[in-house]
């Protein structure tokens, strides 16, 4: 389904759309309040951008360095070209340890690889332990936001879900009560788990360790109990130096949720004695994206979600309308590179207002890349017919000045005089949810002739 169609469905409930819009805008405002408390905020963004840009330009060397240092720490490093290989690697590790119960903390990468359904088919119980992720897992839905997976759900819906799945009181919807119920339910899972798997926020080439940021403490409750820990990372998560974390940990939580730092910033370097630690490095199209000069900067992303919280389209269409693992502006520049035809509508899910680029903590030129993807989509013939034909017709008219002037006159006259039922007929798709401007009496050309 195209983004526009999915967004139309989302917009059918106007009150809910407004609620969603406000919830995200609230987070954007929290981000602003935190950002202004740091006098060197813009310097940090520039540094973050330069460090990631440097890393991308030397990524192979840093990966080799990272691997060597991790191995020296007693960590096993695996390489996966695509999702299938990634899932097989994880399954093989789990099987070797006879794991039946796996607890996971937040990982958009394993969403990207559809790891959960794969492992479940192989008979392994997988429990997402981030509260938001657990909610969408119980609801059998994908996350709608990369930082707040259940931001699209109301507390009453979560109350109903928990009543059905966790046995909470019917009709109870107090967030404190529901969170407590989830805490009890998940504590049991933590204590029973045979292995823990986490995503990775940063991987440090210099030290061979990985850093995971959470507020709930679920990564640590998972990792430190069983005898097996697995960390899955996209290869762009690398940073060269430990000290670079000083820049990124100052940027990440402030940009994401408007906190000065996440509650927990865990630095995993070596397994506990008697335990094993594995790191899986995934490509899955990232090296291709690195080869696209106009789009490689998208790999600088640190997954804060600020571009979603600020985007007027995301806020009013919801994360699910994008049909991708990473929704919103950043998702709309990352995913066309994976399947251009399938995701051809995403770069158009934007007003090109540029707010995403303004808040991006690593200065990705998101709106410029959205515009550039549009060019490629048009050139490769993936525009919907209505858009293709209207563009061709417009081009034909613009190439004929006399005809253009004559049509302009007709249009000004008819917009004034025709009844709106005629102007907003089914042929006017642009006008479905927008008002045409008031028609001026004369064209700019006529005005110039008189006044110029």
């Amino acid at each position: 389904m195209s983004h526009a169609k999915a967004a139309t469905q989302f917009n059918q409930n106007q009150a809910r759309t407004g609620w969603h819009d406000q919830a995200l805008w609230f987070v954007r405002q929290k981000r602003d309040r935190q950002a202004v408390t740091v006098p060197e905020w813009e310097d940090l963004r520039e540094l973050g951008s330069q460090i990631k840009g440097h890393m991308l330009s030397n990524m192979d060397e840093y990966l080799i360095q990272f691997e060597a240092n991790a191995q020296a720490n007693g960590v096993t490093v695996h390489w996966a070209k695509d999702a299938t290989e990634h899932n097989k690697i994880v399954y093989d590790i789990l099987q070797k340890h006879k794991v039946q119960r796996l607890v996971k903390s937040k990982s958009m990468l394993t969403e990207e690889c559809h790891l959960n359904p794969f492992l479940e088919r192989m008979g392994i119980e997988v429990v997402d332990t981030d509260l938001g992720e657990r909610i969408v897992q119980l609801k059998d839905e994908p996350p709608s936001h990369i930082v707040m997976p259940a931001i699209h759900l109301k507390k009453e819906e979560i109350g109903d879900l928990f009543h059905e799945k966790l046995g909470t009181e019917a009709g109870a919807s107090d967030p404190q009560y529901l969170t407590e119920a989830a805490r009890q339910h998940l504590r049991e899972r933590f204590l029973q788990a045979d292995a823990a798997l986490t995503g990775v926020n940063f991987a440090i080439a210099e030290t061979g360790g990985v850093v995971v940021c959470t507020n709930e403490g679920n990564a640590d409750m998972g990792v430190h109990l069983p005898k097996l820990q697995i960390h899955c990372m996209g290869m762009e998560k690398l940073i060269p130096r430990l000290a670079d974390l000083g820049v990124f940990l100052r940027l990440l939580a402030r940009s994401a949720t408007g906190q000065p730092i996440t509650t927990y910033s865990s630095h995993f370097h070596k397994p506990r004695s008697g335990s094993e630690m594995h790191i899986v490095i995934l490509d899955n199209g990232r090296s291709n994206q690195l080869g696209r000069p106009d789009f490689r900067k998208s790999l600088q992303c640190i997954r804060c979600g600020a571009c979603m919280n600020t985007c007027p389209v995301y806020r009013r269409s919801g994360g699910h309308s994008y049909g991708t693992t990473v929704p919103g502006p950043i998702g709309s520049i990352l995913t066309p590179g994976i399947d251009l035809k399938k995701h051809a509508s995403l770069p158009f899910a934007s007003t090109l207002c540029g707010s995403c680029s303004d808040v991006c903590p690593v200065k990705i030129d998101i709106h410029t890349q959205l515009y550039k993807w549009r060019q490629i989509i048009a050139e490769e013939g993936h525009l919907p017919r209505s858009k293709r034909w209207s563009m061709q017709m417009a081009a034909w008219v613009f190439a004929r000045p006399k005809l253009y002037r004559w049509l302009g006159k007709r249009a000004r006259w008819s917009l004034r005089l025709f009844p709106s039922s005629l102007v907003y007929g089914p042929w006017n798709t642009w006008g479905k949810s927008r008002d045409l401007p008031d028609a001026p009496k004369q064209s700019f050309r006529d005005w110039m002739k008189k006044n110029g």
Binding site: A23, V27, P39, L47, Q50, I51, H54, S57, N58, L63, A80, K81, L131, I135, M148, P149, A150, I158, P175, L178, T179, R183, L186, R187, F190, L191, T207, G209, N215, E216, G217, D220, M221, H224, L225, P240, L242, A243, D244, G246, V247, R250, P260, I261, T262, T263, Y264, S265, S266, H267, F268, H269, K270, P271, R272, S287, N288, L290, G291, R296
Partner: protein, 199 residues
Amino acid sequence: MSSREDILKAIKANKPDLKPLPELPQFPQPVEDVGEAFRAAAEGVGAQVISVNNWDELALAVNERYPEAKKIAHQIEGLALSPLDWQQINDAHQLADLDVAIIHGEFGVGENAAIWIPETILPERVLPFITQHLVIVLSKEDLVWNMHQAYERIGTEIPGFGIFISGPSKTADIEQSLVLGAHGARTLMIALMPSSQNV
């Protein structure tokens, strides 16, 4: 060819020309009193900050704040709270019913109330998370202003596991309502002490 070789080859072929790695500058400290800033930041993230002069005052404060606590873990000689017998603990899962854990913090960060805890000062890695309530003892002098200084202080001595903790466990995953006590410690009490006492 292995996936490793394929991936590295693809990156080598596709990466842009080398860009410079920026030096990390020092940024000025915008506040005069880092201790005050730390306290304000800690309260902002939901922690309680107390000042104590000796272990007796700490024991009193813990008893007062957590009167129901039955199982308390600490390794502080001279702290008059009957501690868990670590000889009896041979598996981290045995800590599941722990009420209070009292641990040292290596240093705190003024700008965000994060406290660095390397595993070298933890008897078990899971301790600060599995406990219902966490108390971190921090020397008043062991404060830096920002995260750059924090990593400078850590230097190259990176432990097998280390963590910055800023406040109690929390979540806002249900309609953005802030709830303290998601999976980790429900409360965090930071006890600031003169360093001569904190040994």
